[in-house]
Amino acid sequence: MAIEVRIPTILRSYTGGAKVVEGTGDTLTDLLADLDSRHAGLKARLVTDAGALHRFVNVYVNDEDVRFLGALDAKLNDGDSVTILPAVAGGAPTR
């Protein structure tokens, strides 16, 4: 059994247009490495060079924001559903 991953529109160029892909891994880090082996470039859009989850995305395991589950160290189990959404944020110019 695998982990289902829902991909937002902006990242579907990495998945050949697929809205849902499958992967495996005991943690979010492992899962992203597994996904990146088939969807090269995806991981770099989610994880910064410093190795943290990018602030421009939200990642959820089942119904929880992974930022409350240990972020990239979040534990995963077969049958979990991972959802990736673009974070919606912004603000006025600072002058």
């Binding site: 902006i10 421009f56 924001d65 974070a87 944020a89 912004g90 603000g91």
Partner: protein, 180 residues
């Protein structure tokens, strides 16, 4: 409706496409922005997938509760995005207000813009009596301004007087009376 114009768009934005949106939805967005002023307000207008037609206004909480920043609450966003998915909708419009500056995307707005199919609508509430409303596509860091075409339902509110300020010349703002 009176339409005042502001100077031409800065930042080299090009005009392509158009945002067509019901007057009633614009009114609701402006009311939301006024209600939350001086904090920034934000939200979504959902519409059927592929229709490019915004039909369902969803005001969102600004989790940052700030005069210079907005941020969807991540859990509210998950709920709303799932609901859109279940209804075969997508975010046609993503809006937020600037409360002391013009209605033009900031660097932060551009950096975060993650819905290439959405119209990014900005409302400036810095003037007390008039709102500046402008719409943009933001794709791969490139900002493209587009005209806003307001569809007026004449049967509902034929004599309402309200003043909005648009980023383009009046010639590019079309008014269509649907007469429903």
């Amino acid at each position: 409706m009176t339409v005042a114009t502001s100077p031409p768009p800065i930042g080299g934005a090009r005009l392509v496409g158009v945002l067509s949106i019901d007057r009633s939805i614009i009114d609701a967005i402006v009311a939301h922005a006024r209600r939350d002023h001086p904090d920034e307000a934000c939200g979504v207008v959902a519409g059927p997938v592929g229709s490019d037609t915004p039909t369902r206004h969803i005001p969102m909480d600004n989790a940052a509760r700030s005069m210079t920043f907005y941020e969807f609450d991540s859990m509210e966003q998950l709920r709303v995005w799932r609901e859109m998915d279940d209804r075969d909708e997508e975010p046609v419009v993503i809006y937020h207000s600037h409360t002391a500056t013009e209605a033009y995307p900031s660097r932060t707005d551009v950096a975060f813009a993650g819905e290439p199919g959405a119209h990014y609508l900005l409302v400036s509430t810095r003037e007390p009596d008039t709102e500046e409303i402008r719409s943009f596509r933001i794709v791969d860091g490139v900002v493209t301004e587009e005209p806003v075409r307001i569809i007026v339902d004449a049967a509902v509110d034929p004599h309402a007087v309200q003043s909005y300020m648009f980023g383009q010349s009046p010639a590019t703002v079309d008014y269509e009376c649907s007469g429903r």
